[in-house]
Amino acid sequence: MSSNGDIKLLTHEIGSLAKPPWHVKTSAGRAVDESDFEHARSWGDRLGVDGHEELVELLQRTEPSDKRTAEVANWSSRYALRLLESAGIEWVYDGEQQRTEMYAWAIEHANGFEPRGTIRSFDNKYYSKSAVTGPISLATPYHNDEFSFLKSAAQHKLKIPVTGAYTLAIWSYDEFYGPSQGRLGGGASRKDEIRARREFALDIARNLIRPNLQALIDLGAEWIQIDEPGASTEEDELELFVESFNVSVEGLDCVFSTHLCFSDYDLFFPAIEGMSECRQYCVGFANYDSRELGTSASDRPGYEVISKFRDLPYEPALGLGVLDIHTDFVESPELVRDRILYAVDVFGDPARIHVCPDCGLRTRSWDVAYDKLVNMVAGTKLAEEALSHSLARSR
């Protein structure tokens, strides 16, 4: 609630944004052209990026070099920050502009893994996949540089997305913990598989994630979001996901949240009752919801499960996904408002509802992502007004 007694809802982003073409090209060592200069110019103007003419000059006048690539990546972070800030989002990051990808970036900075090629995620979207081949350790803290830079560049507060231990384990091939032979025809049971994965995930939690989190906290991190899109991959391993989260964060001095997406969320219950260090769950719901307006349960089929988050004994906040990131459809402010109002009604406490997209927006163009985020903030304001009016009437 704000100081004047009106209801105020926290807004935040989730993680990735598309990389601008001039960043993609310079990272890949390809030549930039007039369209890139124009992109940098027009988005710099549109977002009010301070000194963006320097970027245009950098792209136009300097020869490719590692130094230029690093500087362009920093500009990409400034643009992404401003995209989120100018849309009105309160807690922001840089759309993971400095990272290759949420899985690959973490694995690249870990010992014990080897790349095993590219796998399709859906349609023409892919991810790189590695195999664990030896003992796991942190090669070097892998978010420190970007966080230090972003602290100097951000105008809003920073929430750092970090890929979680269980997702890194389940998205990797196992060539180290499980048996390499003798598995055919009943040679290895499901219990054996789970035992191997537990050892794998907990080694990642202890030896990779935890020291990386500690390094961020030492730099002043206030809120770290542990991304676990793979959390519900195996129904019978949810306790393991919970255990790996707890091992990752236990005793560390920071606010921790978890991002879950594109899953059957019912599966998480009751397992996550044991995840009391998680102060917020940000969860994708819009992907499953109707696009019609309305604030009743039947109007909001995608949000049916939220009462289970409400009833968790440690009363975490819910990061309510209100933007479907898989479509260019731009949710109207009124649709966002109605999704929020329904959630607040279910929770009975607006302080426990935060507003966010379903997931990172990296598969959308900046035009679409920006329009969606602007409407998300506008819809949040409409919801705040409606809730404040309702509160005033009840007094």
Binding site: G117, T118, I119, A131, Y173, R183, N287
Partner: protein, 300 residues
């Protein structure tokens, strides 16, 4: 002992890059199709090198197991992006728009590519296709799969079934009725991918009206297979979700063990090879061929 590779085969790194470029407006659809044709050529080569018995086109144009058929069917539409089992790969879940479905246009060469030798085709099983649609497997079989099968020129059609082994209380009655509607055309095999087929065997999996049954032997005990069955056993012995490369000798030895229980065995992957990269899939296919050759040598 036979060997072949049902399911969706992975794209090469070159085709991956081409499709990424297409999405970013850096290349043309024609250029992507040219890369896809190269992938198909290479896939045919590797199958021949491995000495596989029936060729596949690898379903290289299929977005997922259902989409081309969904898009060609009146009464169906693509739904939410949904995780495929315990993988990080997603599919658009089929959704029904009513009670009647009708395939308007059988899949053309883009989805069932011509091949230079005896071939098989993979299609979704009527049960898997019906999941979440509210339709019966029979309605899917009659309205979608049957008209498609009538147009298929293949030695065998493998009906891929990823969901039945994970169903809470699976019943095979509806599936049996659906499969009955599909008989009379090409030989059919129902492949239970990525899951323990043991409980389904107990419920009559090997009594279904198909010529072959596929079992994932990374999740199913060899002893689950009924002794003396006259069905072709599609033995899932390549682990399509693991980068570890199988030992051909171990595969051959396991195949030999199975041949003591059933008369006809085909070595296959336990599901779509698209869950490993193309480089790994290629090596797995070659090892499958070596296992078959090893077994043939032993038998001789």
């Amino acid at each position: 002992m036979e060997a072949f590779v049902p399911g969706i085969y992975p794209r090469s790194e070159a085709l991956v890059q081409a499709t990424r470029d297409l999405d970013r407006g850096r290349t043309t659809a024609e250029a992507v199709e040219a890369k896809r044709a190269q992938d198909l050529e290479r896939l045919v080569e590797v199958q021949r090198e491995a000495g596989l018995d029936l060729l596949t086109d690898g379903m290289l144009s299929w977005q997922d197991l259902f989409r081309p058929l969904v898009e060609a069917t009146d009464g169906l539409k693509t739904g939410a992006l949904t995780r495929f089992l315990d993988t990080n790969t997603f599919y658009r879940a089929p959704q029904a728009e009513g009670h009647a479905v009708r395939l308007t246009q059988p899949l053309d060469e883009r989805y069932v590519a011509p091949l230079p030798a005896a071939r098989f085709v993979t299609l979704p099983s009527p049960y898997a296709f019906s999941v979440g649609t509210g339709l019966t497997p029979g309605a899917i079989a009659e309205g979608v799969l049957k008209p498609q099968l009538e147009q298929v020129d293949a030695e065998l059609v493998v009906l891929s079934e990823p969901f039945l082994a994970r169903a809470e209380r699976p019943t095979l009655d509806d599936l049996a009725a659906a499969l009955e509607r599909l008989t009379g055309g090409p030989r059919l095999a129902l492949q239970i991918t990525f899951g323990d087929a043991g409980p389904l065997v107990e419920r009559g999996l090997f009594e279904l009206p198909v010529d072959g049954v596929g079992v994932d032997f990374y999740a199913t005990a060899a002893t689950a297979v009924p002794e003396g069955t006259d069905k072709l056993l599609l033995a899932g012995v390549l682990d399509a979700r693991n980068s570890l490369l199988e030992d051909p000798l171990e595969l051959a030895s396991f195949g030999s063990q199975l041949e003591q229980r059933v008369e006809r065995v085909a070595l296959v992957p336990n599901g779509d090879l698209q869950y490993v990269s193309e480089a790994i899939a290629r090596e797995k296919v070659l090892r499958l061929g070596r296992a078959k050759a090893q077994r043939a040598e032993e038998a001789a």
